[in-house]
Symmetry: C2
Subunit: 406 residues, 2 copies
């Protein structure tokens, strides 16, 4: 069960972008496990991928295809990650692209392949290629919700987000789906996100925007600090709205577009955290007063990754000593502990190197009893600030990850 | 219960070093919680302390006293860490030193104070100062085992190690105790280790040796990646053996001494891991074939800290995909995945970027069913190697850390 309610919103169709979903029987029967997406001719496509050196075969192939041609189709299978599969994995990913290219009378490098699921087992290529015609036949601009289900693995709910906004008098739409039950459990090859817009965006500019918003959304969430071999985030701009093409980052229109895109992607990222494995809390870690952004992130992630803080959150225990100790070991050069202030929501818990004089355990307990908690840390040494989102560490996390393969 | 058997060995007394232990009623009654150690005049003393910026008041005071005078007494209390206690914490630590100095007709800066226990609560100074006379009265060169119990907090067993060896025809003794139920849970202000030897070692050389062996022992173990505000490791060299004073690191005698010291300290460190919170496995992570030591350590600690690998270890699941993914995200520049080979004990599980051809799940399962497991990673790009020791992540870890304060 996710933390709080994750509603699947109304998904505004994006002109020029269709989605088709089917049951291909890849690993389990009776489950939507194959999704095909079609981008209209003239679309620009940008993507970011996992930094993991052991990236999966489809990730490698995606990068090559993106460099060679403008993508027209995306094919996503669940149940098998096609990772740790050596040379055969590469051949299998190419086979899927060729099969879809044949069906649609395109070249194989106009197809981007994606896989998510178990690592190290051969991709069931035949099940996928046999499922492709049905997925293609069901392509529709209203296919978002089916596709959101089709890309799920350990997710307990489908995740979508959609925006419509006016830029310079023209209406544009941005709609997206994501899967990922927390960052990141490599077996499940975890995070996939697909966003489409009818805005027209020049390709290099789109790539710049994608990298930037990924850095402020998917790269700001963590459940367990592990990162996957298959993470992929793709944005397709079909250009079918009336809005003139965005050409440079500094324009007012680009600013409005990036703000909307970031807001949508942050919504998807936060939904992943809320659906994090075993999560019972949704925790915002906000670091202010840092000398620079990297320092703020170092402190925020040290707190967000600490198993001791995460187990205390699970226990609803306002154990401020653990937060203080995590801040102290985050590697901030010449940190003055006298200048550090900690809050749980609006309750000041630590100042001047020790427990805040006016703090009472009852105040901290009241915050900890909530499902949504903000840990705020002011380092008192600068103007930089960063925010990350995470969960607690529960018995269910151990159970899910100890028993996943059984 | 620790992983494997942790025997408390025969502790050879060290001439010129005595230990006294008492029940001072600091937090719980009926518990040995105050230890005093006496170093004969002429002893040299060296120490390393936590790198945590939020270090506890006694740690700060220890550093100052070490810079000012040759220590003659060490005072250790459990039950309260005197950390996160602001200006009052400093005053309280000074009061303990003054009280022991008065009792022993010395100066306060000849006393080193240590505290371990709950963070953020005022040190019960009166209980400690009232307990000091009894601890001093019980000082004895045979006091090691009582002292090993007296410094325990969440430890389930007392930890000691002792060596006697011949250097240049003279017999010397090295004996030590440690507490720490895994690295590192800040509330319990965790790792304390005290080692004494009757060797004579010049002070700066001793400091160099202490830093070096700490780096190859206590800094190579991890249970949960958290580090404490109070960690301290002290070595006292009384010089009462017949062996000539060690003056330089490069001498043969120094080499023999450091080897013995390192072996003893590694034994203490490994006992901490075996007694790690909720541990059911003792895991050695060995990285070979790295370009340099730092790269080997980065990979080893990424594997040792991964919650996904640790939960798989708890489940005795030979989930090699998680190990492979952790190696891939360890930040090694231009890692060639084709060159990486992974073993569980002697079983090769991954080679050439995928599952080893001759590997069978039954082989991996047989290793995983053991209590002691070695994960060996050959990066295939150099000659550097490093080893770290860790545990699994169990339900008991979550329970212990979620319920600690209740």
């Amino acid at each position: 069960m996710p933390v709080g309610e994750i509603e699947f919103p109304e998904m505004h169709p994006v002109a020029g972008f269709s989605l088709g979903t089917t049951e291909a029987g890849i690993r389990l029967s009776g489950r939507r496990d194959l999704v095909v997406m079609e981008c209209a001719e003239g679309s620009t496509v940008a993507a970011t991928f996992t930094q993991n050196a052991f990236c999966a075969a489809p990730v490698t192939l995606c990068k090559e295809h993106l460099a060679e041609a403008a993508p027209r189709y995306l094919a996503v299978n669940t149940g098998n990650a096609n990772a740790g599969t050596g040379a055969q994995g590469r051949v299998d990913a190419e086979t899927v692209c060729s099969a879809l290219a044949t069906l649609t009378s395109l070249q194989p490098n106009q197809v981007l392949p994606f896989s998510t699921g178990v690592i190290g087992e051969p991709l069931p290529v035949t099940a996928i290629t046999q499922g492709l015609p049905d997925a293609v036949a069901s392509l529709s601009v209203t296919g978002w919700e089916d596709a959101a289900h089709g890309i799920m693995t350990t997710d307990t709910v489908a995740k979508g987000a959609s925006r419509q906004l006016q830029i310079g008098g023209d209406q544009i739409t941005i709609t997206g789906i994501a899967k990922g039950s927390g960052m990141i459990h490599p077996d499940m090859a975890t995070m996939l996100a697909y966003v489409a817009t009818d805005a027209a965006v020049e390709q290099e500019l789109l790539q710049q925007m994608v990298s930037e918003v990924a850095d402020r959304s998917f790269n700001r969430i963590t459940v367990d600090g592990d990162t996957s071999t298959n993470d992929s985030f793709v944005v397709v701009a079909t250009g079918q709205s009336a809005m003139p093409q965005l050409m440079e980052l500094e324009s007012e229109a680009s600013g409005q577009f990036v703000t909307a895109l970031e807001s949508l992607v942050v919504e998807l990222a936060q939904k992943m955290v809320r659906d994090g494995e075993g999560a019972t809390k949704f925790v915002t870690v906000q670091v202010d007063g840092a000398k620079n952004s990297q320092e703020a992130l170092d402190v925020a992630f040290t707190v967000a990754h600490s198993p001791l803080i995460k187990t205390a959150l699970f226990a609803s225990d306002p154990n401020w000593g653990r937060i203080l100790a995590a801040v102290g070991r985050a590697g901030v050069t010449a940190l003055e502990i006298e200048a550090v202030t900690l809050w749980l929501d609006d309750i000041c818990i630590v100042e001047h190197g020790g427990r805040a004089a006016r703090y009472s355990e009852a105040q901290g307990q009241a915050v900890m009893n909530q499902e949504d908690i903000t840990i705020r840390i002011d380092l008192g040494r600068g103007a930089a600030a960063e925010t990350v989102w995470t969960t607690d560490l529960s018995h269910d996390y151990v159970t899910i990850n100890a028993e996943y393969r059984t």
